[in-house]
């Protein structure tokens, strides 16, 4: 598509959603990007007004609108605080797809999404190669944080990024299809790309905990990415391809819940799949699955009754960062904290602004690294000031971003997934 009339027609389909914005401006209080730039075009109200302006031909610059639209973490903080209940994230994702359809996907993204990520096997084997070669290109910075920085000039700039795991999860753990365990429950497990390829220890910790509680696990091999990186780049077709692969895999098992260790995956499976899929058959399946999606902490606290216990006095201090997608989309904030308080060696401390975004936002942090850092540095500062010797959170993307921020500030505070902290005390 490159016909401006078609663009306007498609944007017109968003009108029913857009009209719900009463321009009250309350989203200014929540937006991490607006907090840094102070520009109205960066906050949800502004972005929605731009889309409305484009749809009604008041603005004639789709490229400019797309650019503003992409200066966004898709964190959902605006939506969570919107008094008018506007489905802001749905609008943003749909609009990105429409604008990308009009302008085309960049060649690099096209290659990555069409040829690579949407083909799970190829993706896995290429990354396997990458993990062997990465030492050549990166020098380790911090052993505690497990981060590296680029040896040569690279597109990743100054980023202190984590190593790819020497062995990804799918090499460490065969596929599983166990019967219901002693708990009477069986769950499907969706580790997500990051816990598979970068942080397999997170997924292994989750499996250990599930085993401990007698929960049967269904872990099909060949899982694809949840699709959100493609979709947020406006590439609906790769999104649809990957989602179809996943839905087909999970259709083959029977289970009570689908559990994740990634807040972003959870929000995508639960809220994005049912809304954004075009294929009606897939949509029906996604809707059915949506009600079963749980973060691992929800399963443990709400379904299995894990409760806080008295902390040892000399326990190490651990604080918690609320991933946006867990807080805003799943409304899960208490359960991860309960898991931390259920470890007798941990003294839980709350940091200031625990609920504010870490600034990652997937590809946002690649495209707008400076802004992402500015947002992240505030998070790092709050962590340091909390006096904690360790940070826990529930999303691998946040773990990556916060590790980067702490590592750059030469702060040796390890960042781990909540489930790892909880699992360390189980035999």
């Amino acid at each position: 598509m490159s016909d401006i009339h078609e663009l306007i027609r498609l944007l017109g389909e968003l009108d029913d959603d857009l009209v719900g914005c009463m321009r009250c401006g309350m989203c200014q209080a929540a937006c991490p990007v607006f907090a840094k730039t102070g520009r109205e075009a960066d906050v949800a109200r502004g972005k929605l007004a731009l889309l409305d302006g484009l749809a009604h031909e008041m603005i004639k610059n789709p490229e400019g609108v797309k650019e503003r639209l992409e200066l966004c973490l898709l964190c959902g903080s605006c939506q969570a605080s919107c008094p008018s209940g506007v489905h802001i994230l749905d609008i943003f994702l749909k609009a990105r797809a429409i604008l990308t359809g009009y302008m085309g996907l960049s060649p690099v993204k096209k290659l990555i999404f069409h040829q690579l990520i949407s083909r799970p096997k190829l993706f896995d084997s290429l990354l396997g190669l990458g993990s062997k070669l990465q030492g050549v290109f990166a020098k380790p910075v911090s052993d505690v944080l497990g981060t590296s920085c680029a040896r040569f000039h690279s597109p990743l700039g100054d980023r202190h990024f984590p190593h790819l795991a020497a062995k990804p999860l799918h090499k460490l753990q065969k596929e599983l299809d166990e019967p219901k365990g002693s708990s009477g429950l069986k769950v499907a497990f969706f580790p997500g790309c990051m816990a598979d390829k970068v942080y397999p220890q997170t997924a292994l910790a989750a499996l250990k905990v599930l085993r401990h509680y007698g929960v049967g696990v269904f872990l099909p091999s060949g899982q694809a990415c949840c699709g959100i990186p493609s979709l947020s780049s406006g590439d609906e077709s790769s999104f649809e391809t990957m989602t179809a692969i996943n839905l087909e895999l999970f259709e083959k098992g029977s289970f009570d819940y689908l559990v994740t260790v990634c807040a972003t995956c959870a929000a995508t499976l639960k809220d994005v799949w049912p809304v954004m899929l075009r294929d009606p058959e897939l949509k029906v399946k996604a809707k059915a699955l949506s009600g079963k999606v749980l973060d691992i902490s929800e399963l443990l606290v709400d379904k299995l009754g894990v409760a806080p216990i008295e902390a040892a006095h000399n326990g190490r201090k651990v604080t918690y960062h609320d991933p946006c997608h867990l807080r805003n989309s799943l409304k899960v904030t208490a359960q991860p904290r309960v898991l931390l308080k259920a470890n007798p060696d941990v003294e839980y401390v709350e940091m200031a602004e625990a609920a504010s975004c870490c600034g990652c936002g997937g590809s946002f942090s690649l495209a707008h690294y400076d802004l992402s850092c500015e947002i992240g540095q505030r998070k790092a500062k709050n962590i340091v000031e909390s006096g904690a010797s360790e940070v826990a959170t529930s999303c691998p993307a946040c773990i990556m971003q916060i590790s980067d921020m702490l590592s750059q500030g030469r702060q040796e505070i390890p960042v781990r997934h909540v489930i790892e902290v909880y699992a360390e005390n189980l035999s």
Binding site: G46, A49, M58
Partner: protein, 461 residues
């Protein structure tokens, strides 16, 4: 356009290129505020980061004769920040420093772009209290609050923004600093310029520094929720509370339409058959609070309340408040367009006004949910509609006309909180007089001879 290129250069020299916006997409985002009105895109937006830069920006606009509007958070509900055609928008967001909080003399000095809630929180952290609490306080700026004389839930007992403004420094059209008021409780030097600047809606001067009075916070409070079968009884309760010399810090009402909409929104178990709810809160010394809470309870019973629930603890109080907090979100979620009005009547006329609103809703076949500050007669009749439906929209506009006529005939006012701006300018003469309009236009012309400071607002309906 040549003029435009020149002014952009001048602005860039003052604030740096990064703080001057000229792209269509950036400017479109300053074409509106929270009022339901047609938008108007400015030709430039400029974001000064120091007081001196603000002065220079004003000076340049005046020299060039370029009209401009000052914009805080852009949350006003009357079109006060919709820029003039081919005009400039001056943003105050970067002037966001709290310059001083004086705990001995109980005042604070702020730049105009400080966010209201952040200021109130900072004051509270020093053990003091800044009471004005507009519903938009999480985002609104203090400059905007002063320019609109913003009120809030605490208005009845604690007053509104003007009751806390002790002094104000502002730039005239030449960018020269005018100082007024003082840091003392008493001050009679010259005209009451802080009073003039309050409610000036950005038409008389550009605020640079604001001095606010602070007060000690109340030590205790007690909230309660009263349910009524007849709105008249609720209204009588309000009068009786005041007659008994009790000043609650909150005295909020919700009508049946609002109750039902809120219940549809959250299913919190509200009585959907009730005619009205009153949320009442008294605060002060613990002994006084206990005393007054008991009296309020007694009064409610005498005036025929169905049930009354007293908050047992902080969590319970939070639950009682939830319904009131949900009022606007629930109505806003109900239909695509939501128009929040603020016609205000003397307290004694409140039930007459509520009756009239019901009649108007029926006559024009529109949906009006009413909630608001019963204690000060400041109601928020909220019309839920779809502005895309032309036929319905006509009825809505006629209904709004009728609401204002009714408020004025009951001895009330067009706006208790939201200001006149563009949206209510046409009714100004009905509330005041032709001479008032002329006097105000004369004042404006003397201070702004070129007519460039937020022109077309308030007295040009």
């Amino acid at each position: 356009m040549a003029n435009n290129a020149k002014i952009v250069k001048d602005f860039e020299a003052i604030v740096g290129a990064g703080n001057v916006m000229t792209q269509e997409v950036d400017l479109h985002a300053y074409s509106y505020d929270a009022a339901v009105l047609p938008s108007q895109t400015p030709s430039v937006a400029v974001r000064p980061t120091t007081e001196e830069q603000l002065a220079q920006v004003v000076r340049v606009c005046n020299e060039k004769g370029t009209p401009f509007a000052v914009r805080g958070a852009g949350t006003n509900l009357s079109g006060g920040t919709i820029p003039p055609k081919d005009g400039v928008v001056v943003l105050t967001g970067a002037l966001n420093e709290i310059l001083e909080i004086n705990e001995e003399d109980l005042y604070a000095v702020c730049q105009p772009g400080v966010i209201t809630a952040k200021f109130a929180a900072e004051v509270a952290s020093r053990g003091l209290f800044y009471p004005p609490d507009p519903g938009s306080q999480a985002v609104s700026t203090l400059g905007g609050n002063v320019a609109e004389n913003a009120g809030g839930l605490r208005g009845l007992k604690y007053g509104v923004t003007k009751d806390y403004l002790m002094g104000i420094d502002f730039f005239d059209l030449n960018g020269e600093m005018v100082t007024s008021g003082s840091r003392t409780v008493k001050c009679v030097t010259g005209y009451n310029l802080p009073g003039l600047m309050c409610s000036s809606e950005g038409t008389l001067g550009v605020f640079a520094k604001l001095i606010f009075k602070l007060v000690p916070p109340p030590r205790a409070s007690q909230a309660m929720l009263a349910v009524y079968d007849d709105i008249l009884n609720a209204s009588r309760t309000v009068s009786a509370i005041i007659r008994n010399k009790i000043m609650p810090c909150t005295l909020e009402i919700m009508d049946n339409v609002t109750i039902r909409t809120v219940e549809g929104f959250r299913s919190a178990g509200l009585p959907t058959d009730a005619a009205a709810l009153l949320l009442i809160e008294v605060d002060g010394h613990p002994a006084q609070v206990q005393d007054e809470a008991a009296m309020v309870q007694k009064i409610c019973k005498e005036e025929g309340v169905r049930t009354i629930e007293m908050a047992r603890d902080a969590a319970h109080k939070d639950r009682l408040w939830q319904a009131r907090r949900d009022a606007l979100p629930a109505l806003a979620n109900f239909r695509p367009t939501c128009i929040l009005e603020d016609a205000t009547v003397p307290r004694s006329q409140m039930s007459a006004m509520v009756d009239a609103l019901r009649r108007i809703a029926k006559e024009y076949n529109i949906s009006i949910g009413t909630f608001g500050h019963a204690g000060d007669g400041n109601l928020h009749p909220t019309i839920t509609t779809d502005k895309r439906d032309k036929e319905e929209w006509k009825r809505v506009e006629a209904g709004i006309d009728a609401i204002f006529k009714e408020a004025l005939s009951l001895g009330g006012t067009l706006s208790g909180e939201h200001g006149i701006g563009i949206s209510k300018a046409k009714w100004m003469v009905d509330e005041t007089s032709p001479a008032t309009i002329e006097w105000c236009r004369g004042l404006k012309a003397a201070l702004d001879p070129k007519g460039i400071l937020n022109p077309g607002k308030m007295f040009w309906g």
